[in-house]
């Protein structure tokens, strides 16, 4: 087996991984490996040909491929950065050696630090157990996106979209532009799971009806999808008898959620947060395994690539500092808990919070609400508040917590919406 040594190994060459590599180089890492299983870098950005990327990160509105090219342009000239494309990370060993399989065979990449940036994948039909037959024509929205935007193949002629996640909404528009008739978008929740701008410019613009509190109760067809039975659901997501209606279609796209891709993390026995689906990390995005960091959609699903890049930079910088022995070992950890009104909070732990640093928190609301206050409480008092005009589960809330305001006696921090 071929063996190589690096200061930092980054697994995944999407927005989080590329930002991690750049930040690691800026923080002094001399040798950095970026491991990417696809034939080129950029990750899922390459199939997201729509615009809306980069407003935060580059102060300019870019398409996905343009955002990827911009990220890559910032690091590809750096002499210490080595790219392994067409290369799959098979395992991360206890000594932070990443075992990979690629065009040159099996290579062991021994690194001072590892950044996990593997992204996420889509929930499939099996995960949501739709009844009916098993014909061809049922795709996840992202698979259809890759077919249409990169491979030049349309998935069908008439489509129904289940789930109002952003990829499903983007595909409703994309298919309409390419001449596919999109009959409807169904969402089981009483609110949309996509960004409001995507409801407007992807559904409303093309007169595609959005049925909230609805789902598909059966898929019909023997060889190919011929139609779906749709049904209204009650508050407990149970079908309402008598509300069924039939939509004729030859294609069903599923946009029903994303799952952080944590096979490597599980192999390493990293503790995972059951709500985010990603590893439990501290503010440096360091996992329970010293020297292993995580960022981007593998840690928790982001709605903007810009946030994934921002998080990649946090992890990459910390990974470089750990590799050169400059990252203080955590003397103690303070749990950060998602309280009332919130579903998730990242990071879940604060290490050495006495340093006065600014901690960037990414939180997600559990249901839509208007005019709320985000607050952090520790040691029996409120240490941070911010008024928000609205909080929606589909739109991540970002807040900076100043750690010098935390009482010394605090044994945990609760973040909540009031």
């Amino acid at each position: 087996m071929d063996k190589k040594a690096y200061d930092v190994a980054v697994i995944g060459g999407g927005p989080a991984g590329l930002a991690a590599a750049k930040a690691a180089a800026e923080a002094g890492a001399g040798k950095i490996a970026v491991i990417e299983r696809d034939r080129e870098l950029g990750g899922i950005l390459q199939q997201c040909i729509h615009n809306g990327f980069g407003l935060r990160h580059f102060n300019e509105e870019l398409t996905g491929p343009a955002y990827a090219e911009r990220c890559l342009g910032l690091i590809k000239h750096l002499p210490g950065v080595c790219f392994y494309v067409d290369t799959m990370a098979l395992a991360v060993q206890n000594d932070n050696t990443v075992v990979t399989s690629g065009p040159r065979g099996i290579t062991a990449i021994k690194a001072g630090s590892v950044v996990l940036a593997m992204g996420c994948r889509e929930r499939t039909r099996g995960a949501i157990r739709i009844a009916g037959t098993r014909p061809a024509g049922v795709f996840t929205a992202g698979a259809a996106q890759r077919m249409v935007n990169m491979e030049g193949v349309l998935p069908g002629n008439t489509a129904v979209i289940l789930g109002s996640g952003d990829i499903g909404l983007i595909m409703a528009r994309r298919l309409s532009i390419e001449g596919v008739r999109v009959m409807a978008c169904l969402e089981i929740a009483p609110w949309s799971n996509g960004l409001t701008r995507n409801i407007v410019q992807c559904l409303d613009d093309y007169d595609i009806p959005l049925y909230l509190s609805h789902t598909i109760s059966a898929i019909h067809g023997r060889d190919r999808v011929t139609g779906v039975t749709c049904v209204k659901v009650n508050e407990a997501f149970r079908p309402v008898a008598g509300s069924e209606f039939y939509l004729e279609c030859d294609t069903v796209l599923l946009s029903v959620g994303l799952i952080p891709e944590n096979e490597l993390s599980r192999q390493m026995d990293l503790p995972l947060d059951p709500l985010t689906g990603g590893p439990v990390v501290d503010q440096n995005r360091q996992t329970a395994h010293t020297g292993v960091f995580a960022a981007g959609n593998v840690l928790h699903v982001h709605d903007l690539a810009d946030f994934a890049s921002e998080e990649g930079a946090i992890a990459g910088r910390a990974a470089a500092l750990h590799s050169s022995g400059q990252l203080a070992a955590p003397p103690g950890v303070l749990p950060v808990i998602a309280g009332d009104g919130l579903r998730t909070v990242v990071p879940q732990l604060l290490s050495d919070p006495g340093g006065g640093e600014n901690i960037r928190l990414f939180v997600r609301a559990s249901r839509p609400r208007e005019k709320v206050t985000l607050e952090a409480a520790a040691g029996g008092r409120v240490v941070f508040t911010r008024a928000l005009p609205a909080a929606r589960p589909s739109e991540m809330i970002v807040a900076d917590l100043k750690t010098d305001r935390l009482p010394k006696t605090a044994d945990h921090i609760v973040i909540r919406l009031t």
Partner: protein
């Protein structure tokens, strides 16, 4: 005539501000709810002549992918998007292409260029 209020969601950036426009005799008197000047501009355009940035693909020869992603270098009238998409089906380019390279100048006379979203060798 009474003042009419129209509500719309801004789509300029992912913040999705809820906008309210006051309209009298077809004239927009005021826009509120926006958190930046682009929001007001969006509301005024959206209520009179809505425009969108257009993204799609064109066929490409001699590249490792069969399609090149493209984007309009400015917004174009919403009602012209499907016409532009139809027109792009007749276009084929050859690799190599650099990001930002003009693929179709002044598409359908709308004053907007269609440019490559990415480089492709």
């Amino acid at each position: 005539m009474a003042i009419e209020t129209k509500c719309l969601s801004c789509i300029v950036c992912p913040l999705s501000c809820r906008l309210r426009a006051e309209i009298k005799d077809g004239k927009i008197l005021s826009v509120s709810g926006n958190s930046c000047p682009r929001g007001e501009m969006y509301a005024r355009n959206e209520l009179t002549a809505p425009r969108r940035v257009f993204t799609s693909t064109v066929k490409i020869k001699n590249a490792f992918l069969p399609l090149l992603p493209v984007v309009s270098d400015g917004s174009l009238p919403k009602g012209k998007i499907l016409d532009c998409a139809l027109f792009l089906r007749s276009i084929e380019v050859s690799a190599p292409v650099r990001a930002g390279h003009v693929i179709v100048p002044d598409i359908l006379g709308l004053g907007v260029n269609i440019v490559a979203s990415r480089s492709m060798d």
